[in-house]
Amino acid sequence: MNDLEKQLRSALRRCDPPTGFAERVMAHLDRDTDRDSQQKPASWKRWLKLRWAAIPALAAILVFGFWFRGYEQRQQEKEALAAKQQIMLALRITGSKLRMAKAKVKAVEGERRKTENTL
């Protein structure tokens, strides 16, 4: 394998998905399974269970609130880091075009000075 291929292997090596990926898949599966199994008609026993279920549900909402704030912060960081890469790309392109223009101006000015000197 030559240099380029080695570099491609290195550049494209596997990376892990964001932390908690497997847990999110399993949570999704649980939700799907629950949705599928919720075909029973409502009954007073079920209603009683749901009332008691409200307490842990409230706790879960609070926990989710904290998690979501952290999630938002992480998303913001991701966005900023990605924007930084774009900024550096844009500045590099700008720099290269400015240098190109400068080189051309110098070349033209050089030509004109030569012409003026021979006159």
Partner: protein, 168 residues
């Protein structure tokens, strides 16, 4: 195959890097890659009774994520926030001898036409042989080889111009 929930979770963990990476390296969109990867595993859960072995599972998830990624890219010539989701290389410490060149190579690969891009990802990220790639993408082996050759020549030229150095 039949698996308990815990065993299935272990299966997800075993293959998550492969599935996510194929989508991510191809799409350069971490959010889309995670969504597609998740869909593949959800589908796998229902497909398990039809799959016969762990090798079959690996082949199946790899094939499904490959085709899902291609379909996603083809149906989505929309203005993606590609760079917005281009998170820094996660999980493993950087082994890039030249991180700038590696980053440039990744971007060059992302600019390739869909099929050429997927061939490069499967070849260099998954280290699949051309005949395996041909089977995965349902195309002749000769086509895979010639696309790979042309794509490498293109990338080599771009890399050389970028670095000013000869790249073998």
């Amino acid at each position: 195959m039949k698996l308990s929930a815990d065993a299935f979770a272990d299966l997800v963990r075993e293959h998550q890097a492969m599935v996510f990476s194929i989508a991510y390296r191809f799409l350069r969109d971490a959010a889309a890659a995670e969504e597609l990867a998740q869909d593949v595993f959800l589908k796998l859960y229902h497909e398990l009774p039809r799959l016969e072995s762990t090798d079959h599972v690996k082949f199946w998830v790899r094939k499904v994520i490959t085709h899902r990624s291609l379909d996603y890219a083809r149906s989505a010539y929309r203005r993606h926030a590609v760079a917005l989701d281009d998170i820094p290389e996660p999980a493993v410490p950087s082994a890039d001898s030249d991180p700038l060149l590696a980053a440039a190579l990744r971007k060059m690969v992302a600019s390739l036409p869909h099929e050429a891009r997927m061939i490069v990802v499967l070849r260099y990220e998954e280290e699949m042989e051309p005949h395996e790639i041909a089977e995965m993408l349902a195309m002749p082996v000769a086509t895979v080889k010639s696309r790979l050759r042309r794509t490498l020549a293109l990338l080599r030229g771009k890399a050389q111009r970028l670095t000013g150095e000869t790249v073998r």
